[in-house]
């Protein structure tokens, strides 16, 4: 068996394979639904209805997509340069920590000043958190996958320590949670009385901005060159290590914004369940988008829809809602195969 590079595929092919991946995922998860004793068609109908069947459902999907856009972008940026950032979960929580540290009254500033200040501080903290593994990778050759993964555990314990210590809400009845951020530090809701908040708009703007950076700037070119072929990049005079550092700063900063937007836009305070694994789902979001920043928007909404829809379905059809995680993981694997098939053809010989 051999893989042969294909001549540039047409747009139709490029779209067909991802659709085939989604189809394969549906077929495979249907088997699980059947084992659970439900009918796949009705389950998928219920998932779709739960995700986008009403204004309420759709707004909920967009709300859930917001942190996924940030983590998806963070991972897309890093993976482009083959910097394997698996630590978006930790960066998200650090973003949450900085948001409550500055947003609970420490800085009595008006909203227009306070929110940008918090955002800059949040991004700096997330960036610094990923800078460590990036330095270890470039200076000492320590694989960043393991360091960023282990940092997820360390940071979560650190947050737990803060929530039982310095950041603990004295009025929290003993629960490990922080105080609520002050009104000036809250992102306004997009629609009065709904959960969707301005974080979604910031996420969209970030995606566009990152797309411009990746496509139109020297940094974007260097990141792609480093990811494509580090030796070649070094040969043409790109400072590979420095590019990786810049990538780390950008990626860590973006992931931390997910924590900011969840605290400041949605939850109001920091708890240990701020993220149900948005850092890990961000990997899937980025891969489904084929690492394209604008594609991240669509794939984040798709993945969020599966989670929101599965929750609704689970209550109605008595199929465990973990089916959503299975679908998301399966679509990651089918998608990488689909991407391969758009670029190569398999020769059996």
């Amino acid at each position: 068996m051999r893989l042969e590079p294909k001549p540039a595929s047409s747009l139709a092919i490029t779209l067909l394979f991802p659709l085939a991946a989604a189809g394969t995922t549906l077929v495979l998860t249907s088997i699980l639904v059947l084992i659970a004793g439900a009918s796949p068609l009705s389950v998928f109908y219920l998932v779709a209805k739960g995700a986008a069947g009403s204004q309420f459902a759709f707004l909920e999907t967009l709300t859930r997509a917001t942190p996924l856009i940030f983590t998806g972008l963070a991972i897309a940026v890093a993976f482009r340069a083959k910097l394997w950032n698996i630590g978006a979960e930790a960066q998200l929580y650090i973003g949450g920590v900085v948001t409550v540290a500055l947003g609970t009254g420490a800085l009595p500033l008006p909203s227009v000043v306070l929110i940008p200040v918090i955002m800059v501080a949040v991004m700096a903290a997330g960036a610094l958190l990923l800078l460590g593994p990036a330095v270890l990778k470039t200076r000492f050759g320590v694989d960043e996958v393991v360091t960023t993964l282990l940092l997820n555990f360390i940071v979560l314990l650190f947050v737990s320590m803060l929530l039982e210590g310095m950041l603990k809400d004295p009025m929290g009845l003993g629960w490990p949670q922080s105080q609520k951020v002050i009104a000036e530090a809250q992102l306004p809701r997009l629609i009065q009385g709904k959960r969707l908040h301005c974080g979604f708009v910031i996420a969209l703007a970030s995606a566009v901005l990152i797309w411009v950076v990746m496509k139109k700037t020297v940094l974007g070119y260097e990141m792609r060159a480093v990811g494509f072929n580090p030796e070649g990049a070094r040969f043409v005079g790109i400072l590979v290590d420095r590019t990786l550092m810049k990538t780390a700063l950008l990626s860590g900063g973006l992931a931390a914004l997910a924590g900011f937007s969840e605290v400041s836009g949605l939850k109001g305070n920091l708890t240990l369940d701020l993220s149900p694994g948005y850092g890990y789902s961000g990997i899937v979001v980025a891969m489904l988008a084929m690492l394209n920043p604008l594609g991240v928007i669509a794939s984040a909404i798709f993945v969020a829809g599966i989670f929101v829809g599965a929750d609704a379905m689970s209550r109605a059809a008595k199929v465990p809602s973990y089916i959503a995680d299975v679908m998301v993981a399966t679509s990651l694997l089918t998608m990488v195969v689909a991407i391969l098939l758009t670029r190569f053809r398999i020769r059996w010989r």
């Binding site: 282990l150 990651l332 391969l340």
Partner: protein, 313 residues
């Protein structure tokens, strides 16, 4: 009790060896994969699946050894999936590995919820009991630590000997090592690199799953969510720490486990002066530290993470 005295008690070393056992299995599993040239980041998920499969088999009436066998089979299955995607198809070992971890974990939780829909506290099973080895177990401290364990712990130590023997003393081990160092040389001998690598990942993954099953059938007596809790990632660090050698990796695992057992005891005598989270962080921080210390002189298998295509070069 004094912080130093702990180190001389038998109960401390008994605990250390028990904590080391699942790490030993999984580290050997990862070591086999990496020696053949494949980084297996599915380890965390495969251990979760193994922990559940072993426990569930016993819970549904199977015997403990059958539980281990089923766990190994599940591990092998996920290994086969990982191998198919990364070896002949040459997909990114990082992305596929994370995908396998997500898939194996969520699939396990799904099946758990399906099998026990309303259960809040997981049902218990009768786990492996300690099996003191006559005579040897009477040796003070060392004998107690090594020879009053459950059969699975003995099996873990034997797996190290077996892996070392196979890697260094058999033709198949030579082929595995060569597949991770210089695959074209293997192909030149008329041996299929694809076959060797896939076989290594399948066998390695089965071992990882047995490591997971140790937790539910030998250390605890039921299955909890998040029970692997980063142990898989720590095993990846242990492989690097052991510079891809079974014996050194074993020493690494025991040292690491001793430290883990020590921090639990230190936590008890510290009397809450230091937040307990600091102690819980230490194993992960220690893993990172070990990676930094060893990384400079780490002799990575040269073809690790590099896909191989027949007839290339």
């Amino acid at each position: 009790m004094d912080a130093l005295e702990i180190l001389f008690t038998a109960s401390f070393w008994v605990a250390a060896i028990r904590i080391a056992s699942p790490l030993i299995f999984a580290t050997m599993g990862e070591l086999i994969c990496e020696r053949a040239g494949v980084l297996n980041l599915g380890i965390e998920g495969i251990m979760t699946a193994g922990a559940f499969a072993g426990w569930f088999t016993v819970y549904s009436g199977g015997d403990l050894w059958a539980g281990l066998l089923v766990a190994a089979l599940f591990g092998a299955m996920f290994g086969l999936l990982h191998a198919t995607l990364t070896v002949p198809l040459g997909l990114s070992q990082h992305v596929v590995g994370i995908g396998i971890t997500l898939l194996a974990t969520s699939l396990t939780y799904f099946i758990y919820r399906l099998a026990l829909p309303e259960v809040t506290s997981p049902p218990k099973i009768e786990p492996f009991q300690p099996l003191p080895i006559p005579v040897l177990s009477r040796i003070p401290v060392v004998g107690e630590a090594l020879f009053t364990q459950t059969p699975l712990t003995y099996l873990a130590f034997m797996s190290v000997a077996a892996v070392a023997w196979i890697l260094y003393r058999t033709p198949i081990g030579l082929a595995v090592r060569a597949a991770g160092e210089n695959p074209s040389a293997v192909e030149a001998q008329g041996i299929s690199v694809t076959g060797i690598r896939m076989g290594a990942v399948v066998v390695g993954s089965a071992l990882m799953a047995v490591g997971g099953a140790f937790l539910t059938t030998s250390a605890f007596n039921s299955f909890f969510f998040q029970m692997i809790n980063g142990r898989g990632w720590i095993c990846i660090a242990l492989v690097v720490f052991g510079s891809w050698r079974p014996g050194k990796a074993l020493i690494g695992a025991v040292l690491f486990a001793a430290f883990d057992a020590y921090q639990v005891r230190l936590q008890q005598i510290s009397g809450g002066l230091v937040p307990y989270q600091v102690f819980l962080m230490m194993p992960y921080a220690l893993s990172i530290l070990a990676l930094i210390l060893v990384a400079r002189r780490a002799a990575y298998p040269k073809a690790l993470m590099i896909p191989y295509q027949k007839g290339e070069r």
